[in-house]
């Protein structure tokens, strides 16, 4: 078994424009999707959602607002799944509700080193 990191990227600022009903329905889709992975005993860690905004610290004490000012897709959260192959991880990621808001899932194997 290997652990794979799911990184959820989307234009999360678009969320703010959605109605409470829409947000509730999106939350349900996320819960049903994560619940489905957990029901297959393939969820290593539900992970976390990330707040909008942040700081990036660079050499020489240079601090900037997040790297995503220019990028539409900002990192909105992460989870860890536990499966045998990256193909299986990708199959799980295919059900992610992030696509409904035009986002993406980056799938990365966790290095055991």
């Amino acid at each position: 078994m290997k652990d794979f990191l799911f990184l959820y990227r989307a234009d999360y600022s678009a969320y703010a424009k959605r109605s409470p009903e829409e947000l509730q329905s999106i939350t349900k889709k996320w819960m049903d999707w994560i619940g489905s992975i957990a029901a297959q005993n393939k969820l290593a860690d539900p992970g976390n959602r990330l707040e909008n905004g942040g700081r990036v610290v660079k050499p020489n004490n240079v601090v900037t607002d997040g790297p995503y000012c220019e990028i539409k897709e900002s990192l909105g959260g992460y989870s860890l799944v536990r499966v045998d192959t990256i193909e299986e991880a990708v199959a799980l990621a295919k059900g992610c509700p992030v696509y409904t808001i035009g986002g993406s899932v980056e799938v990365r194997e966790i290095s055991k080193m």
């Binding site: 819960m31 049903d32 994560i34 619940g35 489905s36 029901a39 005993n41």
Partner: protein, 411 residues
């Protein structure tokens, strides 16, 4: 007034474990057997005397006094005690210390015993056997009959557990505040399993099964009565037990067959217990910690609402999602998929069910059969037949055969 023959078995159930707990707390873990001997001897004396002279006015108090005197005599005459044990226990319990059989003394001792028996050094199945024996006053033979095992197996299991407690030198005490939360976890798990053992086990109907549940509830209540152990998780567990127990009368019919949830007579559900469950669930809703008992109590709460509503099954589905994220179990995975069928539709549930691949679990094939029924009866039949092959108990096989017959009748 009740006759002695009627009263003694009842008192034995309620008082034996209290006397054992108080004496264990007094003597220390090394001398569980001494405590048990004195408690048994007390009841033997009661059996002999009450038959001849009649039952005393306050039987419980009489038992406590006799137990106290027997303990004093034991201490006096036992030279082994004087030479070997006394120096040992002097540090913890001075010889002249009064044996505390007051109401709070008993409650504290029993609570301390719960923590001792639920110490993680003992395996869970041994904890349950030991709890039934020492905390609930059930005999080895009774426990063996109820769990369809031999008397020797249970006896050895209990002896080994006591041995382990002695070796590990487990204190009979309510743990200090620093380790209490962690120790509470194993106490709650044991009480939860004790309840489930009575509630879910289909291995034959035995009166003890139901008593497992009421004893688990009694012991959980004891936790709630002490402010140190009256924690949200314990309240959530109590709520869960109340909600489940509310369906006791409805879940078996006159011939003692299991009646499934959907077929139950709702008027038999115990509303008073449901209200109690709601009370404890509210008590549990304090603090930041969301335990599996909270989630399971939430699921059980929704099951006290009869019928199918969208709101009910959506709530149950989300609680199962959270439960599975917290801790995977095949049972939760199967129940989640059933809730999904009710909330999101059968087609979606079939897709999810096929992913579970619990191929050694007969409940998995029961679920598949249920979902496919009316959609694809051929697949439903194959699933039920697979379930029948995998099922172990006669009761399970019987329920599955009923499903197969129903399907065959429709096609």
């Amino acid at each position: 007034m009740r006759s002695a023959t009627e009263l003694i078995p009842r008192l034995f159930r309620t008082e034996y474990s209290k006397i054992v707990a108080v004496l264990c707390a007094h003597f220390g873990i090394d001398h569980i057997e001494t405590a048990e001997d004195i408690a048994s001897d007390t009841f033997l004396t009661a059996t002999e005397l009450w038959g001849l002279k009649g039952v005393p006015e306050n039987p419980a108090a009489w038992l406590y006094t006799v137990a106290k005197n027997k303990t004093k005599n034991h201490l006096k005459r036992n030279t082994l005690f004087a030479e070997k044990i006394a120096p040992e226990i002097k540090q913890t319990a001075p010889l002249n210390a009064e044996i505390d059989l007051s109401e709070t003394g008993i409650a504290d001792s029993v609570l301390a015993m719960i923590f001792t028996i639920c110490d993680p050094v003992i395996a869970t199945e041994a904890q349950i056997a030991l709890a039934l024996n020492l905390l609930c006053g059930f005999g080895v033979q009774e426990i063996a009959t109820a769990f369809l095992t031999g008397k020797d197996t249970i006896y050895k299991r209990i002896q080994r557990a006591k041995e382990k407690l002695r070796e590990a030198k487990i204190d009979i005490a309510i743990p200090g505040a620093d380790i209490l939360p962690r120790r509470m976890e194993s106490v709650l798990i044991t009480l939860y399993l004790l309840f489930n053992e009575g509630y879910y086990s289909v291995s034959g109907e035995h009166p003890l099964k139901k008593e497992c549940c009421s004893e688990a509830m009694r012991l959980t209540l004891l936790l709630l009565e002490n402010e140190r152990t009256n924690l949200p998780a314990a309240n959530a567990l109590m709520a869960l037990m109340c909600f489940h127990a509310s369906r006791f009368e409805a879940r078996t019919n006159q011939t003692e067959d299991l009646v499934l949830y959907n077929d139950q007579d709702v008027s038999l559900w115990d509303q008073a217990l449901i209200e109690k469950g709601c009370f404890y669930l509210n008590q549990a809703a304090q603090g930041p910690l969301l335990t599996k008992y909270h989630l399971e109590a939430g699921i059980a709460y929704w099951h006290t609402h009869p019928g199918d509503s969208r709101e009910k099954w959506e709530a149950i589905l989300q609680l199962y999602n959270q439960l599975l994220i917290l801790e995977y179990s095949p049972v939760a995975a199967l129940n989640r998929t059933f809730a999904l069928a009710k909330a999101n539709g059968v087609e979606a549930a079939i897709v999810e069910a096929e992913k579970l691949q619990l191929l050694n679990n007969h409940f998995y094939f029961v679920l598949l059969g249920t979902l496919y029924s009316g959609k694809d009866d051929k697949k439903a039949l194959t699933a039920f037949e697979q379930a029948y092959t995998l099922a172990q108990s006669a009761a399970d096989k019987q329920l599955i055969q009923k499903k197969i017959d129903q399907l065959a009748a429709q096609n």
